[in-house]
Symmetry: C2
Subunit: 374 residues, 2 copies
């Protein structure tokens, strides 16, 4: 049985044009250990949007092509073209993760036929995806593809932050952009596991989102007393580890310095080197693309660095990764539930006005693609 599958592609040409289109592909019979998944729901994660749009200027988005084969183009600003060199003139497949129903299965994978599964193997912005049976993860009965679409990136990132905390012997966490989908999930996870979490947000609305799900420590970086409140919350929780989605500017440095100030207030240390207790800042996103500024008041026992989920999963190894995945499958409708701002068909996702909306990556907003929707 062969399936005809439309898939969403992104290409940046050597002339500096972004081109989004739908390409038809045929997906043939699965091998003995393979399955074909009808992809019903796949999220637009920030990392997907980076791949989809590159550094294109969304103000130049324009629609062309026909009704069922829309093509959308945009210009890449001259000074940002160098960063796209590695992908120029390649039509990229997209979509880190998604969920759907197994519609064909090889002889060794017959038990999966008809079940709802998730996959995180990439190329999910397609109607039908052939995958190794070992790359799909079935859900307990009753879980829908919409509920299971975001089973990898956010749940494993939240679990990865907690497992990093345990591995590196910290006892509490600080998180920025804390009202994001991921941030909300991290709060539910920390509440479930009894871990103290300091949430850093940028608005009163975001404070409210987190208060409603039961967060205990919320500080607003736009408050005049922000540094004082941050230092107090860090002092109460004893957090010496922070995950920062903002990346650029002074926020990460303020957090490390607040940790140092809180440690010195508890245990004054003479001499110029500050507290010997190690403080760690991990930057896992770059909402602010300016340089990261770290002040001298962080002391000497500090570390800052990039954090990416694949590097972390490599670090903990396949056995530990499998434990995290099993927990996600069990708690996908509770701890790891995602909510979406709106659901989009492929045609809707190529609409310039819609792209400008999801391209903002506003905190707390998240969009779901329905490749087989009309």
């Amino acid at each position: 049985m062969t399936f005809t599958s439309l898939e969403l592609r992104s290409e940046i040409t050597s002339a500096g044009e972004l081109r989004l289109s739908l390409e038809e592909r045929s997906v043939d019979d699965p091998g003995p250990d393979e399955v074909v998944v009808r992809v019903e729901a796949t999220p637009l994660n920030p990392s997907d949007l980076n791949q989809l749009l590159g550094p294109a200027d969304v103000e130049t988005l324009a629609a062309s092509g026909s009704g069922d084969r829309p093509v959308t183009t945009a210009a890449i600003p001259e000074h940002l073209r160098a960063m796209t060199a590695a992908r120029v003139d390649q039509s990229l497949t997209l979509g880190v993760e998604g969920a759907g129903t197994v519609v064909a299965a090889g002889v060794s994978a017959q038990d999966l036929l008809g079940t709802v599964v998730s996959a995180g193997a990439g190329q999910m912005y397609t109607q039908y995806r052939k995958l190794a049976a070992s790359d799909v993860f079935p859900f307990p009965d009753g879980v829908t593809p919409q509920q299971g679409a975001s089973s990898f990136v956010n749940p494993l990132t939240a679990l990865g932050m907690v497992s990093t905390m345990r591995l590196e012997k910290h006892s509490a966490l600080v998180h920025t952009a804390a009202a994001s989908n991921l941030g909300q999930m991290l709060n539910k996870l920390c509440i479930a596991d009894g871990i103290e979490l300091v949430n850093v947000v940028r608005s009163a609305e975001q404070e409210e989102i987190l208060r409603e799900i039961g967060a205990s420590h919320i500080v607003n970086s736009t408050d005049p007393d922000f540094v004082k409140e941050l230092t107090a919350a860090i002092g109460e929780t004893g957090a010496t580890l922070a995950f920062d989605a903002v990346g650029g500017g002074g926020l990460g440095g303020q957090i490390l310095a607040a940790m140092e100030a809180s440690l010195l207030a508890k245990n004054p240390v003479p001499g110029p080197y500050g507290s010997p207790v190690r403080k760690q800042l991990y930057i896992y996103g770059r909402l602010d693309r300016s340089a990261t500024a770290l002040p001298i008041s962080v002391g000497m026992a500090w570390s800052a660095g990039g954090w990416l989920l694949p590097y972390h999963l490599y670090r903990i190894g396949p056995e530990e990764t499998q434990k995290l995945r099993a927990r996600v499958a069990d708690e996908i409708t509770t701890t790891f539930a995602s909510s979406y701002t709106s659901e989009l068909t492929f045609a809707e996702a190529l609409d310039p006005a819609t792209i400008r909306r999801f391209g903002r990556m506003a905190t707390g907003e998240k969009y779901l693609l329905r490749p087989n929707g009309r």
Copy 2:
């Protein structure tokens, strides 16, 4: 036998005055496992100067007291007083390291009597220092106290950088403020051990100092082509580890970004996260006290952090530390030889004009104290 010992003290009063003075102390008989060292030579390291002067304004230095009991004072600027809170109104002893002759020894330490030894146990700005026999390190015959005065801080820091490189599986190094006493020593060590070292300096004179001792890779941060030359030198050596004495400003970030650019030039990686090869920046000094700026072009596989010798020795443990010390003792007149700008008696070291000279901590300048000199 009791020794009368003058020692150099530094106190910062609650009124914001720095006060340097000589205090008389009597050093009594050593216990069975102890020795008394007549301290002949002890260096003014940057870390000693931090303790000696604190954040005092050297323009306000003034001499008082009598000829053989000079007292020197200076003002601590109002806005810097908070950083001195942990030491206020305490008369601090000083001097991380030094060398001298064992002039008295307990029954279990008689073999040390008359030998030239070094010690790194602190409080060496004194004429006679009582120490545990296990805290002194005898030199091979013929080594003078002047030659042995700097046996800990610089030699162990240079060896510690190389041992960090091996421990964290890097294969070459970048070093800033590279024409310093430490930087020259690191070059001799890397040449001896066949390790590639990229030296970052700030002037043509500093380039010349390093060229004379045989350094292969020297880049000048004041050259218009600095970033290009730095990237080329990093590419040639494959360095993914840097030790930075400057700390503040953009230099550390430029080095990480040059490592990333060099890695991507060798192995282009599609996608927004850059090279997966880990790049490490260690900040071990703060010649520039402004914030450290790290640009987005460092990619995601990077880490930056404080590096201090005591933390490193704790990390490698006592057995490995002992191996490093033994090598220093064997090579103190060759690989780990220090040279000094000038030698100072206690009285000379308290002279305001002299303090202003050594207080600048100019690269390549280093001063030696002779506590028993006249």
